[in-house]
């Protein structure tokens, strides 16, 4: 019958149980194991009924062990009165069994129940009790009832003080493995009374720290703790418990923690830690699902006292110290349950579960560093939240970070702070308005310090009307741009690219939704388009000049990156605008020495074509009600560019016609002076400086290295092979450009010199 009971109860943990908090992962793993153990017992039953079947030695050993354990447990359950250890062979035998099973495989819940009551009932001497407690490693979970029963033994003082201490330490260690905690929480008062005991006090404090909920914090308890504090003085465990009380009820208790407190509580789990790990490793094979040891030990932010009090770059997250009474009542009315202090917010799951009763921190600035709270403010409508954040951030930026005030700053701190803001903006995908103002104020005085941070912040400046941007941003930024190093220039261009991208994404989201006419600020779409257009022209201007100053392919690369966003505005972001790069960017890119840049330009021109064609189609179909800012001049310019490109790359007709006022037309005399024979028809993808290397390699691969290369050989069939060769070398941009803009009459039988290809330009209406 006992066996029956054991069997049934050992299957119990197979029921799925939900535990909140961080123990969950562990528990679910344990449940899985509980199931497995149930299977084993089932297996044993089967084996017992079919004795004639042969079984492996392993199974046999397991069955033996199991029987031994059962006998041991039966012994401990039935034993009566005071039992001596000396000369008591039975006790010793069973004790050894229980110990070896406990430390190796862990004990089932009912085993723990029996042994726990036994150890605390005072039937045995202390050595036995402590040996029993030390081997109480649960194989799955600890049942709440077992703990409650043990607590009742604990309260009647049958056992010695050292056993009591050991029990509390055991309970702290196994806290997360207790299956339910409601009844345990109901015993809060019981534990609280035990605080008076000097030896128990540190551990009881730790246990209470784990158990305390807001409703447990009562004025009389606060007073008791303070009395205790007067008696024993400053003790870390009391501070720990009181600091939690302060988190829940700041209106009852005030406490300033010394700067050096690292841990509040003594390490309780050391006695069992190794065994728990070993049992877990054995039972699950993966110690990676580690127990969350060291709970209740809180890392306090180290605050240096020497900092001046009104500098506020690093705010700790703490809940508001004051909840007004009317707030409380309305709060209770709405939620029925208490607020959740932000200090206790650790995981995303907690956020989701408590989102309806979460309090904002006392100082809004502290949300910047907490991704969880950033998630939270993202779904909050309350404007005062942003206003508080705004006041704080504006003040800190002005006082602590701005170089125009002439104040002394700690450089690393400023850097970290600016990084934090940049990360928060990235996270929220929006710029803070005070940050924008800070940039407007400080960029005219910028000496390039905190470069990466400022450039990152720059990219989140929201769209505003041009007159303001021109005066506040473009002018000062332009000045610093021209006079700074190449890398700085690249950084600025990249930052402006991101800014454009942010604006465009913003627009893409809002284009559908905002009824622009209704906007109180009279923000018409044309205004938006103009602002975007102005930014692009600004970048075009500074790029042209920068390329004049330093003809660097790195810079060109960044500039082309910018235009890669620009060329796709219409198709990708629904911005009714097509702006071509200025000739000061286009021609240097076309004649660049890097095949990467040339390829990039080809891709960009291909995307421009796509956008222009799409815009044209929409115009004809009258689908588009938007005012289209694409005029015939743009298309004309595009066609000129494409003609020049085709002339340069394909038809060998570069430098011949003066298509563009700033184009690459050259006098025949000048060209003759280069000494290139047949200069008129030589410049194409074979002799283009960015591609000549490829051409030579291509020939060498085809004819062997020793033969002198003659680039003129590449024509006809070889031309086609060469083009294929280029495509294979990663010139995808060239490929799409050639395929879209050059219609080749017949790929197989045409000869290059005939220039049968014709350039298809976008039709001009």
């Amino acid at each position: 019958m006992e066996k029956q009971k054991l069997h049934r109860s050992s299957r119990r943990p197979a029921k799925p149980e939900q535990q909140p908090g961080y123990g969950q992962g562990v528990l679910s793993a344990l449940h899985g194991h509980g199931k497995e153990r149930g299977d084993i017992t089932e297996k044993i039953n089967i084996q017992k009924t079919h004795q004639d079947k042969c079984h492996s030695a392993d199974d046999q050993a397991e069955v033996n062990e199991h029987e031994l354990l059962e006998q041991g447990l039966q012994y401990f359950e039935k034993v009566e009165g005071h039992v001596q250890l000396k000369g008591n062979g039975t006790l010793l035998k069973h004790l050894n069994t229980v110990e070896s099973v406990g430390t190796q495989k862990g004990l089932p819940p009912e085993g723990i129940d029996i042994l726990l009551s036994c150890a605390l009932s005072g039937k045995f001497v202390d050595t036995v009790n402590s040996r029993l407690l030390k081997c109480l490693i649960p194989s799955s979970v600890v049942s709440e009832d077992a703990v409650v029963k043990a607590v009742s033994w604990f309260c009647v003082d049958q056992c010695t003080a050292s056993t009591q201490v050991l029990f509390v330490r055991w309970l702290i260690t196994m806290f997360d493995l207790v299956d339910h905690k409601e009844k345990l929480r109901a015993l809060y008062g019981c534990f609280f009374c035990s605080l008076q005991d000097e030896r128990l006090c540190p551990y009881i404090c730790h246990l209470l720290y784990l158990l305390t909920k807001k409703e447990n914090v009562k004025p009389f308890r606060v007073r008791k703790l303070l009395d205790l504090q007067i008696r024993v003085g400053m003790q870390p465990h009391l501070q720990g418990l009181l600091s939690l009380y302060k988190v829940y009820c700041p209106e009852l208790v005030s406490l300033t923690l010394p700067t050096r407190v690292k841990t509040f509580f003594k390490n309780s789990e050391s006695l069992w830690k190794a065994e728990i790990m070993a049992v877990r490793r054995r039972n699950f094979g993966s110690p990676s699902v580690g127990l969350q040891m060291g709970f209740g030990i809180k890392q306090l932010p180290s605050q240096s006292k020497k900092r001046k009090w009104n500098s506020h770059m690093n705010l700790p997250v703490s809940s508001s110290g004051l909840v007004s009474h009317e707030d409380v009542s309305s709060f209770h009315h709405l939620h029925q349950d208490e607020a959740f202090p932000v200090e206790l917010l650790q995981t995303f799951t907690q956020l989701v579960q408590n989102i309806h009763r979460l309090q904002f921190p006392a100082q809004m600035g502290s949300v910047l560093k907490s991704p969880l709270l950033l998630h939270y403010i993202n779904c909050i409508k309350d404007d005062s939240v942003f206003l508080r954040l705004n006041y704080w951030m504006a003040q800190v930026l002005h006082e602590e970070c701005a170089w125009y005030t002439g104040n002394q700053h700690n450089e690393t701190e400023v850097r970290t702070f600016l990084d934090t803001i940049a990360n928060a903006q990235q996270f929220l995908q929006e710029g803070f308005s005070n940050c924008e103002e800070f940039l407007y104020k400080s960029i005219p005085h910028w000496n390039g310090c905190y470069r990466s941070q400022i450039l990152q912040l720059l990219s989140w400046i929201p769209l505003t009307s041009f007159s303001e941007m021109e005066q506040l941003l473009y002018e000062p930024l332009g000045q610093i741009f021209f006079t700074s190093s190449l890398y700085f220039k690249c950084g600025v261009i990249e930052s402006l690219k991101e800014m454009l991208q942010n604006w465009l994404s913003w627009h893409a989201f809002y284009a559908v939704q905002v009824n622009i006419q209704d906007s109180p600020m009279n923000n018409t779409l044309s205004g938006l388009v103009n602002t975007v257009c102005d930014l692009i022209h600004f970048v075009g201007r500074i790029s042209t000049i920068a390329l004049h100053i330093t003809n660097s392919s790195l810079l060109l690369h960044f500039i082309l990156d910018f235009y890669e966003i620009v060329c796709d505005m219409y198709v990708k972001y629904a911005m009714p605008l097509v702006v071509l790069p200025p000739s000061g960017v286009f021609y240097p890119a076309l004649l660049s020495l890097e095949s990467v840049n040339l390829n990039h330009l080809c891709y960009i021109m291909y995307r421009y074509r796509k956008n222009l064609v799409a815009a044209k189609e929409n115009e004809w179909n009258k689908k588009c009600t938007m005012w289209l800012n694409i005029n015939s001049q743009t298309i004309q310019e595009y066609n000129q560019y494409v003609l020049d490109m085709v002339g340069c790359l394909w038809t060998s007709q570069a430098f011949q016609k003066d298509r563009h006022p700033q184009g690459i037309f050259m006098d025949a005399e000048m060209l003759a002076r280069t000494g290139v024979e047949n200069y008129r028809n030589s410049f194409n993808i074979v002799r283009h400086p960015a591609l000549m290397g490829h051409a030579i390699l291509f020939l060498q691969q085809g004819f062997g290295e020793d033969k002198t290369v003659n680039l003129d050989l590449i024509k006809g069939k070889l031309w086609n092979w060469y083009v294929e060769y280029l495509y294979k070398k990663g010139m995808r941009g060239l490929k799409v450009f050639v395929e879209s803009s050059i219609s080749r009459i017949s790929c197989s039988s045409q000869s290059h010199s005939n220039t049968a290809e014709s350039c298809t330009s976008v039709a001009q209406k």
Binding site: R223, L226, Q229, M234, Y245, K246, P250, E251, L252, V253, S254, L255, T256, L257, P258, V261, K308, W309, N310, H312, G321, L322, S324, I355, H356, A362, Q363, M364, N378, C379, I380, K381, D383, S384, F386, R388, Y391, W392, Q395, L397, H398, E399, L428, Q429, E430, N434, E437, Y440, K441, L463, T464, S465, W506, F509, Y510, Q513, V514, S519, P520, M521
Partner: protein, 376 residues
Amino acid sequence: MSSHSARDVKRRRNSAVRALAESSGRRRKIPEDRLGTPIAAATTRHNVTFINTCFSQHGITPARRNTPFRQVPSKRKIPPNTPLLEENSGPEKISSFLRKQWTLYSVTPLYKFSYAKFKDYSKLLSAYITAEKQTGLAVEVGMDLNIKVTFSSLSGLKGNEHDQRAVFIQITSRSAFAAPNSEEKVLWTGCLCCTFGDMEILSCLLKDFTCLPLFLVNGGETLTAMVGTWFQKTFDCCFSRLVISARDLTWMAAMWTGCKLENHMAAIELLFSVPCSPCNLDISYAIHPEDARALWESIHKSQDEVTEEEVNLFMNCLYSHFFRHFKIYLSATRLVKVSTAVASAHCDGKVKLLSEEYIISVLALLTELATNQIQY
């Protein structure tokens, strides 16, 4: 008008993410409608609104858009000399303001500050200070402590009816062995006030905020730090030292010279510091108040406002007079301190109020400076 511009300020949050939340919210709503679930359940649960209905507007200009550098105003109004007459304006408290050295701070608007909860604040702040002093020991709130904090309000410092009442904070200590009726020792005094606050800003504030931009402190730095920290934690505000520029000091010199005082006649003293000398050379320039007033009255025209030209002219006259006698260009030095019979002010943000009659006008000017320092 006020509510409208307030909205403009708060909607300054431009957000693509919000737009995303909005659109996904709508998408989510459609199938639920089909299933017959009430829409309200999808949109709001408890207090938390997941779907944002307010569009954050783009490119909105706030009520007060900061120019890159705020300019010193070219003219200032002379506030009416008579304080707002109200009951319990606390004349004895106002006189306690006089002849004390005050250190100035500017404070951003206080969040959820309530004039009805002064008793709670007193208890919490005194417990906080006690806990700070004995780090590591917890202190029960509301217990009888050696340190007592009193919060009280002072309507006598209001400039007009839009201003919030000033908040007066006093920290007193009672020694444990003192006789029960002995006088408590005042350790620290502070006052948050707003006198003729910027109407534009006041009208933009949300109702949860209280605007008291000027903070005057008399007492030890440690206590100031504790009170300041407590305020920051409790009302989510920021403090910063208010320094007075030389430019503002000249305004003070001119405006305070113009104040008529019947009984008290003290010399007007201007203190200049010469920056380049190895050991700091200070030049003190004292003028007989009647001479100075005669000069100012010959310059000053309007009854209710002072212009920049007038101030410049006044100072230039004083400078040229000084040059005539000592051959020193004071305009090349830095004005550090101004003291008149009305008040004295030092550039590092220390002020002494000397005349009860003109306390409002001095505080009005200081409030303006504090407001300008705050980044709204």
